[in-house]
Amino acid sequence: MNSRQGSNVTRPCLYRSNPNVFEGGCGREMTRVSAYYPFGIGLLAGTVVFALAAGRGGVVGVGLAFVVIGAAATWHAVRQLSRPDQARPEDDRRAASGLPDDEHQSGADLPGWQHFWHQVMPVWAGHLKSSRSQSEAAIGSLTQRFSGIVANLDRSVAASTSAEAAGSGNGGKGLIEVFARSERDLGQVVASLTSSVNSKAAMLQKIQGLNRFIRELHTMVADVARISDQTRLLSLNATIEASRAGELGRGFSVVAGEVRKLANLSGEIGGRIDGNVAVINQAIVEACKAAEQSVREENQTVATSEATIAGVLASFREATDALVESAAVLRNSSGGIKAEISEAMVQLQFQDRVSQIVSHLEQSFDRFLSSIDEQEAERQRGSGVAPMDPAPFLAELRKTYTMNEERSLLNGSAEPSKSAGASAGAAASGGSGDVTFF
């Protein structure tokens, strides 16, 4: 119903000077209500800001704060209007003079107010509900992303630790264990090479030991040659002596000739032996030279290999140490970031509390509309319409509260701003974080 229809319809007087009798129009309230329009506008503006901030991933809390402050101010306006005992002096003067006011003349009435609130309240409640939904969705999405980041950090740290760790725990695949095993294997290769070189050196020494036998053979050949010469000289003397003996020495001369032949033959054999020994000696000398050259080269190879392996291992160790250090830095940084994100996530619990507060505000809007309906029903029954009593209304509102800061706000024992700060910062009021064991 339009608030300006019919002058015979009594206008709701949420505020009036006499609490016991309904006195008709109270156009003064229009002036008072209009004073609270900015709060309503603040509520709507806050809702718009909140929606924009949430949509762009901006500071959702700022928009939400606008909404809550606007809603609280509006509720404050409604409470002021419903108090029968707080008439302003000019209102009292106007009532005492009996002069009608402009709004009374215009025909505003209780059904009009009922219509007004039934139109406006659901819109405000809708904005609050929308704000709450967007806040829940945005914070939910935020916590989900944070949760994903924490999980990724966990995986990165685990992978880094696994790559770095010593092999005992992960089948020997750790970087440090791989390095240690490579160092051991390469050390064995160098040891094998050194062993081979040592074997060759030992063999060389044995070959060089053959020289002693060559020298002995040379001595023996010289002895054979000397014996051959002396035998030949002796056979020559025997031939001379045989020729002196004449016919009697003929046979002896033959023997002496045979002895000389044997002496010559042994001398020739000695010469051949000497030649062969010289060849063998030359072969041994050359073999020794070749073996010495080989041993020297292999020693050089082993030394070069050892130096190369040591260099490679040093580089590898340097790289490993750098990786281990970098992994440790990564792990520490990841741990720090994870702790920061976890802490930030814990702070996001404010959304649950804000959501509950807004939900209670929505419930109180519904209750307010019911109260207006009840008052209108009383008016239609013809009974005197009693002023709206805030006490039962607030008592019912109190029943919906779950947080101490809400109750404190209702009792007037805490400033709204402080209360809001407490819910965001967690601990100051309401026993936040307290643990009770049963």
């Binding site: 939910g140 996530m345 619990q349 404010f350 009770t436």
Partner: protein
Amino acid sequence: MAKTILTVDDSLSVRQVLGTLLKSAGYDVLEACDGQDALSKLKGQKIHLIISDVNMPKLDGIGFVKAVKQLPTYKFTPIIMLTTESEEQKKKEGQAAGAKAWVVKPFKPDQMLGAIEKLVLP
């Protein structure tokens, strides 16, 4: 073997904050958005501890705790109530229903993990 914890809360952000905290501490986590959902999640699972909100749609926390205590498998499973409620009367209701601890939101991670360690059997 990691212990499994069921978190019951109609607030997605609270469930996710709890989930992240508990997984980081080495627990497996199951989530439910109200008492009814939680009762259905209990079937066929081995749950070592339950963390439940109080004010939830469909089936509230107190009703849920009472229902859990009727289940032979979960009769002795410890339950922590995690709620914005801090009134003594509500705490007494939780205790009477069978909860083992009452934590007021917003919780502090150390206190929550301490309470869990105290209640979960080794």
